[in-house]
Amino acid sequence: MTEKPLAIEVSNLTKRFGALTAVDNVSFNVSSGEFFGFLGPNGAGKTTLIRMLTTLLRPTEGRAVVASHDVEKEPGAVRYSIGVVPQAMTSDLDLTGWENMDIYGRFYGIPKKQRRERIAYLLETVGLSARAHDLVATYSGGMRRRLEIARVLVHRPAILFLDEPTLGLDPQSRRVVWEFIQKSRGEDSLTIFLTTHYMDEAEALCDRVAIIDYGRIIAIGSPDELKAQVPGNDIIILTTKGIPPDTEARIKVIPYVHNVKIEGDVIRVYVDKGAQNVADLIEKVKIIGVSIEAVEIHRQSLEDVFIHYTGRSIREEEAKKVSFLVGAGVPSKLR
């Protein structure tokens, strides 16, 4: 079997902002046509990494090759080959949807006739044809995001970078966005590089996932491979009223228990055959002296993989996200 050519090659990539190392010696490859996900909490280094791969930031160390072009030596060639949907909404509010796409197409030097046909098709596909000549200022968040994804496909890029594309969207808009991306992937043999902190999104869409935390890749593989690395197929989550000091050690010795994680008053027990063993586990935990308030069993997910590797939930980090306006006007080196 012949191996697919590489769309992205990253070797020992590092980015430092003064004393802060945002991306720390990261290496990985993405094959052509692959849907690759980068998972991690806010501040983990996802956006910095994507900005280096898309020529917006210069790496401090290491090398990245995107679409066979070195990002530092041939940034112009890289830009012709990629389409990027940044985390922030970047469409012009003072322009119509059509104008946004048309001007973007002109930045790539696409001939007028070809541009018009492509824009009409893309707007139709994302369901914005009827609103094409309205100012983007009148669009909803979901419509604007769909427009932005359609816009970066005008020049038929080989690689699509999506930086948290569904952040802040309602479930319906998220679904529409993903349907469109899946459709485009099928039509244009796109390689897709996605950063997200939505575990379900990564699990459902990505061929492979890398988990990043504090700038370093801590796990990489297909969602199934990653889940297989965590012992126990099921997790029994016990919400308690307080946990005695030796609880973790005493639960770990139960035969069907693979691992135990305690976060505050919540005990996560990694077990085989969760439904079969839950009653027994509750009994044993009560004997230890733990008062249980609620019990939940769920199949292992990437969220559990993240907890397994980092010891904390990815959702804890979401609350720390602040407005993009905070820090505006501060020299970038201080940020």
Binding site: T55, L56, L57, V84, D92, L95, E99
Partner: protein, 370 residues
């Protein structure tokens, strides 16, 4: 050419903000009206309290001269009082800018040549009014010993005969070149690099930094779109200024073409210069602070309001590298002196060189990454 798409984007966005367009035209015109009417080039209408205790001929003659000033140049208007103390208190309380006291023995002392004196109490915290009063009263005083005005010139006297080389220019008319330059300055602060700073502030800049646009495409595109908008605004301000102040433009197409050229070159130079200073700014507040600062340091030493020749040496040196000074000089020559193009070739050469240098530096120093 991809820069044309940058220009198109910028112009479309600007066109959809009519309030900014209107404000950019109205503000320099309001400036012209306010400055033209508030100062008028000469001090007028200062309240002067006069207390005359003397009924002699020289006191009468002085009062006649003062009334002549009141009726003619109108530097002051006279408020006759009987009480010296009330007059001086009036100055202290701000009702009058000066109090002139004519003592009872004023005429007698002139006749006897025993050192006649007048008292002029002025509010010296207002240096301009105080100076103007001193000058006007001294002028009135110099004439009181002449019993009549000679009809024929005295052959033994030396006369200074003033001849105006150009037609009379009213004070408000003289402000028009400066107001046009101010409109250009304002235009360059709301276009060009300002749009880049706003894009950066809103995070929109990523959308075009991620495309194959080069540094040259981005800088040139924004500067050229700024040039279109600012030139249009400056021309509107110029036409309105000419109509409001009644400047006769008789130089035809040549004169208008040269004025247009000066406006275009000044705009290009300022837009490029702003790119050098603000090309890496990321907040509109920085532009706001910077524009206030730059407006003062470029506009006042430009010769638009005060003559450069009267500046101290260091400020004259600064004026030599101030593009607005060359622009004002060229516009004044074209509008008021009706000179031909060759007379402003030095100004044009400086503005061209300034534009080329600043544009080159702007492109070189522009950071294409975040």
């Amino acid at each position: 050419m991809k820069a044309i798409a940058v220009i198109d984007r910028d112009l479309r966005r600007f066109r959809r903000n009519p309030v900014i367009i209107a404000m950019s035209v109205i503000m320099p015109i309001v400036y012209l009206i306010i400055l033209g009417n508030s100062f008028q080039g000469k001090i007028k209408g200062i309240p002067l309290a006069v207390v005359n205790y003397d009924s002699g001929q020289y006191a009468r003659r002085l009062m006649e001269n003062l009334r002549a000033v009141e009726a003619g140049p109108r530097t002051f208007f006279i408020v006759n009082l009987n009480d010296q103390k009330a007059a001086v208190n009036g100055v202290r309380e701000g009702r009058y800018k000066g109090a002139l006291i004519i003592p009872p023995d004023f005429s007698k002392r002139i006749i006897l040549t025993t050192r006649p004196e007048l008292g002029l109490f002025t509010d010296n915290t207002d240096a301009i009014s105080s100076g103007a009063l001193n000058e006007a009263v001294s002028g009135a005083l110099r004439e009181i010993k002449s019993g009549y005005t000679p009809i024929r010139e005295n052959p033994s006297e030396v006369y200074l005969r003033g001849e105006d080389l150009y037609r009379k220019v009213d004070y408000d008319q003289s402000l028009v070149p400066g107001v046009v330059i101010m409109a250009i300055f304002m235009g360059t602060m709301i276009t060009g690099v300002f749009n880049l700073v706003m894009d950066r502030f809103l995070g929109v800049d990523e959308s075009y930094l991620l495309t194959p646009l080069t540094k040259g495409d981005i800088v040139t595109g924004l500067v050229v779109s700024g040039l279109f908008i600012t030139t249009l605004l400056a021309l509107m301000v110029f036409v309105l200024g000419v109509l409001i102040t009644g400047i006769p433009l008789s130089g035809g197409i040549g004169q208008c073409g040269a004025i247009f050229m000066v406006i275009v070159l000044t705009t290009l130079g300022l837009l490029s210069m702003m790119f050098i200073f603000l090309g890496r700014a990321n907040h509109p507040r920085i532009v706001g602070i910077f524009s206030g600062f730059m407006n003062v340091i470029l506009f006042f030493p430009s010769g638009a309001v005060y003559p450069i020749a009267s500046f101290p040496g260091w400020l004259k040196t600064f004026a030599r590298i101030n593009p607005e000074a060359y622009a004002v000089d060229a516009l004044k020559a074209l509008i008021f002196k009706g000179v031909r193009f060759h007379a402003i070739i030095g100004d044009i050469a400086f503005l061209t060189l300034f534009t080329l240098i600043t544009m080159t530096i702007a492109i070189m120093t522009f950071k294409r990454t975040l």
